[in-house]
């Protein structure tokens, strides 16, 4: 059997990282929601805000543990399946990962213990600080991994020594590596995407209770918090997304061309496809195009063309269909989240939100939007970077572990798929049980 180790390793990485990425965004976003809610509870002494936090902390714990377990897989997967990549970037990438472990993981895991289990062991103020530490720790951990991943897209602060299989990236400037051109914009984007998950999650569960007339006081506060958090994050996301697309245009133009389905550089201004389909063989896009809009977004004028894939060497071209579709899906969902949260905020202000069933139902379902948008965005970004694993320096196909035969990778993919399928099912089951059980009301009233 002649198995394509590269394809299998890529498939396994995609599977493991996408499954992992179901959990950290909720850790970040939900911990932020808890910080806000607990802050309000401390300030106002309102018991219902406290009940909201206590309830959220139970959901948080399960989610966090699975996030850690699936995250350990990622840390070792660089070495097991991508040994050549590890040797090439270790000098640069490794210190970001070590920083993540030392500065972020200990912070979040340590104080998580107090957040989840320490309600009756520490004062309310110390508990609030612990919640804050968990939020900061999880955000800080996102920081380092996004810095490391961004370095793959816009490498900086290094030089290359050696050639071929012995080539190594060696660090010149740690801070140049950390603040590589795409790191901060992408980090902002990732954090906002996580805040959206937290916001819509709290809103969804709260809306669910309101539709059933349960846990009114807690749910009203939760929905209010979720809607406001979602609105602020969506607006910020609009700005962040725009900024980031400009960074992509400047530093990785091939990726932008893939996102926008730009095969040919246009004579004058370049249009933007609102939606469409890509025929990769015919190198054609069919869809709804707004003329000149892409030029406007990238160059601030309607005339200057945006470079297409014709300006990229044939053997350096990324795939187009997948980045195009996932990118557009992400943007569409982002717009939907903005619209939904704006509507929710408006009705909240008018004190009509809690009595508008169709909108409540929309919020229940909308928890899926940020999850799908996050995954779509990552797929667009990582597939759009192909054929490179480090842009312009190392090709994905050259980066796999030379010593691992295809049969072993096939075995591990099958095992991971089975285990993660089971894990996903169990996670949904437990989350649902907790949500059905609901927060513990003081008088047991529903």
């Amino acid at each position: 059997m002649d198995l394509d180790v590269v394809a299998l390793s890529r498939a396994q990485f995609a599977l493991t990282v996408m499954f992992h990425y179901l959990f950290p965004p909720l850790s970040i976003g939900l911990s932020l929601a808890m910080v806000i809610a607990e802050g309000i509870a401390l300030r106002t002494g309102d018991r219902h805000w406290e009940q909201l936090v206590r309830f959220c902390s139970k959901l948080f714990a399960v989610n966090f543990a699975i996030g850690v377990a699936t995250g350990i897989v990622m840390e070792f997967e660089f070495g097991t399946n991508w040994a050549t990549y590890s040797r090439f970037v270790g000098d640069v990438f490794g210190s970001a990962l070590a920083a993540e472990g030392i500065f972020a993981f200990f912070l979040e895991s340590g104080f998580l213990a107090i957040l989840v289990f320490g309600w009756d062991r520490v004062s309310p103020r110390v508990h609030f600080l612990s919640t804050l530490m968990v939020f900061l720790g999880s955000s800080f951990s996102a920081t380092w991994i996004v810095i490391a991943n961004s370095w793959q897209h816009t490498p900086a602060g290094f030089h290359v020594e050696g050639e071929g299989a012995m080539a190594r990236a060696r660090i010149d400037d740690f801070w140049a590596m950390v603040f590589n051109p795409s790191a901060m914009p992408r980090l902002t984007h990732v954090l906002l995407g996580s805040f959206l998950v937290g916001a819509f999650f709290v809103a969804s569960v709260s809306a669910y209770y309101l539709l059933r007339g349960r846990h009114r006081e807690v749910a009203e506060r939760g929905l209010g918090l979720g809607v406001v958090m979602a609105l602020v994050s969506s607006i910020a996301m609009l700005l962040s997304g725009h900024h980031q697309a400009n960074v992509v245009a400047d530093f990785t133009p091939a990726k932008l061309a893939a996102f926008e389905g730009l095969y040919e550089t246009t004579e004058g201004g370049t249009g933007l496809y609102v939606m469409g389909w890509v025929d990769e063989d015919a190198r054609e896009v069919t869809g709804l195009e707004i003329p000149g809009l892409l030029s406007l977004l990238v160059h601030d004028d309607l005339e200057t063309p945006v470079p297409g894939l014709d300006q990229i060497d044939d053997d350096e071209e990324p795939p187009v269909l997948v980045p195009f579709l996932t990118y557009h899906l992400m943007v569409a969902l982002g717009m939907a989240m903005l619209g939904l949260s704006a509507l929710g905020a408006l009705l909240l202000w008018r004190r009509r939100l809690f009595a508008t069933p169709w909108l409540l139902r929309a919020f229940v379902v909308a928890v899926l939007f940020p999850y799908v948008a996050n995954q779509a965005g990552w797929v667009a970004s990582e597939v759009g970077r192909q054929p490179w694993v480090v842009y312009g320096l190392l090709r994905t196909r050259d980066a796999v572990s030379a010593s691992v035969p295809g049969e072993q990778v096939l075995t591990s993919i099958v095992l991971f798929s089975l285990v993660y399928l089971g894990l996903g099912a169990v996670w949904l089951f437990v989350m649902n049980e907790k949500i059905q059980h609901g927060p513990d009301d003081e008088q047991g009233a529903h």
């Binding site: 070792f76 399946n81 990962l97 200990f106 289990f117 660090i171």
Partner: protein, 337 residues
């Protein structure tokens, strides 16, 4: 100061701290079925409940530091030991999930399933760790390009298996001394008894591993003959074992008992480090990797040293804070597992 040597030692410290901390989590898991009814099993789980996740982070940090400081070794070892690593990851996932899910549903079948899963996953984790250590000591079949040129079954040979079994026994002992601090009543009597059984097995296996090492890994004992003072390490471990024995047998001085089982772990990991130094990988084909060949640039090692300098007091204080907040006997509450 040779930064590469410093980081070799630092990695050893990270690994040792991990072994001492998660060692008792995993040991509690191995002993889990000594607890008989639902309440006892919950006590056992909650003894490590708030602590195990933070303890596991030491492994994550070890992995990150290995990648950063010795990327050549990280890449070669992980890809050469591919399937054992994948198995380790599954067992770690299994342990985490078993703890989280076990009490989330009232059904006795559900709980029994996750109880057994918790025990098996914990035990298998430790077994695989020991298998790794044994393989690293005796040498892995990798060539000069870092390619694995043996059969996967080679990795589960008699020497690694014995080291693995020894590790499992020691983890059980360590779990027992920990539980002695956290539990009371008839349960702790049974735990102590199980701990003594594990201690007996451990001693037998230590002898077995020592004999095998003399034959199969003579270079492991070379440092002891070159620097006779190093023999204090195994002596220290032996003395600590006696303290553990006394504590488990009489049920007194539980704090000393736990400190002593920790000391046994430290002495063994130190001996492992001494045997391996200055190599990170021994190859049966002669393609060894020493720490200077495997390390990243001085610039990176310097950066990491600064990170470690700033980070160490922080991580030590978080660990101490959390362990102190949750010290004392286990009390089941609204938020317990």
């Amino acid at each position: 100061m040779d930064l590469a040597v410093f980081w070799y030692v630092a990695l050893g410290v990270l690994l040792t701290v991990y072994a001492v901390l998660d060692g008792f989590d995993l040991g509690v898991g191995i002993l889990h079925l000594v607890a008989r009814d639902d309440r006892e099993r919950r006590l056992s789980l909650n003894a490590i409940g708030p602590l195990w996740d933070g303890n596991e982070v030491w492994l994550v940090t070890f992995g990150g530091a290995l990648f950063a400081a010795f990327p050549e070794a990280y890449a070669t070892i992980l890809s050469a030991l591919y399937l054992p690593f994948v198995l380790l990851l599954f067992f770690l996932i299994g342990r985490a999930v078993s703890i989280e899910l076990r009490s989330k549903h009232a059904s006795p079948i559900w709980r029994a399933y996750w109880d057994v899963s918790f025990m098996l996953a914990s035990g298998l984790c430790v077994l695989v760790f020991g298998v790794f250590a044994g393989n690293l000591l005796v040498g892995i079949p990798v060539d000069a390009e870092g390619r694995f040129v043996g059969a996967t079954t080679d990795l589960f040979g008699p020497y690694p298996a014995t080291v693995g079994a020894m590790a499992v026994a020691l983890a059980a002992v360590h779990g027992a001394t920990f539980l002695q601090l956290k539990l009371e009543g008839d349960l702790v009597v049974r735990v102590r008894r199980a701990g003594l059984v594990a201690l007996t097995l451990f001693l037998a296996l230590v002898v077995a591993v020592t004999v095998q090492s003399l034959v199969l890994v003579p270079r492991a004992l070379a440092p002891l003959t070159a620097h006779p003072l190093l023999v204090l390490l195994p002596l220290f471990g032996a003395a600590a074992t006696l303290v553990v024995l006394r504590s488990l047998a009489t049920g007194t001085s539980p704090r000393w008992g736990f400190a002593a089982s920790s000391a046994v772990i430290v002495s063994l990991t130190a001996l492992f480090g001494v045997a391996m130094f200055p190599h990170l990988l021994y190859s049966t084909e002669g393609a060894h990797l020493d720490l200077w060949q495997a390390s990243s640039s001085v610039a990176t090692l310097r950066t990491m040293s600064i990170i470690a300098l700033i980070g160490s007091p922080l991580i030590v204080s978080y660990t101490v804070i959390v362990h102190r907040v949750f010290a004392g006997r286990v009390k089941l509450g609204k938020y317990s597992y």
